[in-house]
């Protein structure tokens, strides 16, 4: 574990410990009251989910076309994080929706497209786990296609249904709500970066051990 990762992890842990007080200090929202405060964890999770998806797609492209072995480890780490944070977003979302909209799930554009991108990354992990030899390359292709698919999923689902608030709400938030929000986004980002570099390092070491085993067999 490098010093940078230790600092990131420590800072993220401190921020998450402080988060309940920061969120508690934010005022109640006019129509939803206390319930909306899940937003402070929901939205950062969703953003980290998207960030993970983008990092995985870009790293896969670099692996596939640039033959950079190191990028493959980054792609795996980012895809796993996309699934973890995607799951967080998909669990906190319905909890909030139940109170705000009265139902657990609606087939709204943003929910549906998040679910689909989440499924693509679950498929990515399944392919990696059960694909056998050569699965690293295949899953890189999948991640690349998944990334190219995001706008199509979004447009098609958008014309299909829409209910979720637009992202443009963020700049219009009052400062008293904005500070806790950005605090949480930053905490999630630190956690994301720390986990990304830890997992990528682990993956690189695993690949190296595999390569050593193979060369030992041949010797």
């Amino acid at each position: 574990m490098t010093t940078a990762v230790k600092v990131q992890l420590g800072l993220a842990a401190a921020m998450f410990a402080a988060a309940p007080w920061v969120i508690n200090a934010a005022p109640y929202e006019a129509t939803m009251g206390l319930v909306y405060k899940i937003y402070f964890f929901h939205m950062p999770s969703a953003w980290m989910f998207l960030l993970g998806a983008i990092v995985a797609g870009v790293a896969s492209g670099r692996f596939l076309f640039g033959k950079r072995q190191a990028s493959d480890a980054t792609a795996v780490a980012a895809a796993e994080l996309a699934v973890v944070f995607g799951l967080l977003a998909l669990v906190t979302g319905p909890l909030w929706a139940r109170k705000a909209w009265g139902v657990w799930w609606v087939w709204d554009a943003r929910l549906t497209s998040s679910l689909l991108v989440f499924l693509i990354f679950v498929a990515y992990l399944l392919l990696r786990r059960f694909g056998g030899p050569g699965a690293d390359k295949l899953s890189a292709g999948l991640a690349l296609f998944g990334m190219a698919n995001v706008p199509f999923i979004y447009v098609s689902v958008n014309y299909w249904r829409t209910l979720h608030p637009k992202t443009s709400v963020v700049p219009t938030l009052p400062v008293s709500m904005g500070i806790p929000l950005w605090f949480c986004v930053f905490a999630f980002l630190l956690l994301f970066l720390a986990l990304l570099s830890l997992r990528a390092t682990l993956e690189r070491q695993r690949a190296r051990v595999d390569a050593l085993y193979l060369s030992l067999d041949e010797a």
């Binding site: 596939l64 499924l119 399944l126 050569g134 292709g141 296609f145 199509f152 098609s156 014309y159």
Partner: protein, 227 residues
């Protein structure tokens, strides 16, 4: 360009020759498609009449299911005889081989759809002749999008373990835009008063989808199929 087309045409001819001799994929896929439609009929027909508005969904789900089956079978045949390796060893452009495989797949799926659409018109009282050209355009665009991704994924999964289950697992989330656009567009055409503008919007989206994913597949086929 001519060399590209020639290689693609040769691959199509090879696949057609193999298929015509055995009819394995065509016969099983056609029968499978008819069975799927019947299963849907038992799910959606009440009092002798189909629930309103299900015809479009049944059509596209059946296309996706039978397409997956055909993709799996086509490449399983290449794997068993190890002929895909021979094909890839041939001194030809890899993208041209992909294009040939895709064209063969499209021919097969067009054949299945030629049986499927009248069958659904017959069993679910869908007005398939209300706007036949637009329906054909929508089907063609949707099938191309599905087959473009499907052919690439099936080809790259040839060497993978548990490929049978992985193909639909990878293919269905990826082709959801095709399903949504196909079902919504077809439903717009199947209404009592066909909504041509809406169908055209979904067809346009599909054409755009096709352009992006055919390009991306041609571009990634080479690195994905190289050991």
């Amino acid at each position: 360009m001519t060399a590209f087309l020639r290689v693609a045409a040769l691959v199509v001819r090879k696949d057609l020759t193999v298929e015509v001799r055995s009819l394995e994929v065509v016969a099983t896929t056609l029968f499978f498609a008819v069975t799927v439609v019947l299963i849907f009929a038992f799910g959606f027909v009440r009092e002798g009449l189909a629930v309103e508005g299900v015809a479009a969904a049944i059509l596209w789900i059946t296309v996706a299911f039978s397409g997956t089956l055909a993709l799996g079978r086509t490449f399983e045949r290449e794997r068993q005889a190890d002929t895909l390796r021979a094909l890839l060893l041939a001194p030809a452009d890899r993208p041209a081989i992909y294009a040939g495989k895709l064209a063969g797949m499209l021919l097969l799926m067009a054949l299945v759809e030629a049986v499927l659409v009248p069958l659904i018109g017959l069993l679910f009282q869908a007005p398939i002749l209300a706007a036949p050209l637009r329906l054909a355009a929508l089907l063609a665009a949707g099938t191309l999008g599905f087959a473009a991704i499907g052919t690439l994924f099936a080809a790259m999964l040839v060497r993978a373990r548990s490929r049978d289950v992985l193909l639909p697992v990878l293919l269905y989330p990826m082709t959801v835009p095709v399903m949504i656009a196909g079902v919504r567009g077809t439903a717009a055409l199947f209404q009592a008063e066909p909504d041509l503008d809406l169908a055209q919007f979904w067809t346009a989206l599909l054409v755009f989808f096709d352009a992006v994913f055919v390009t991306l597949a041609l571009w990634t086929f080479e690195p994905l199929m190289t050991d």
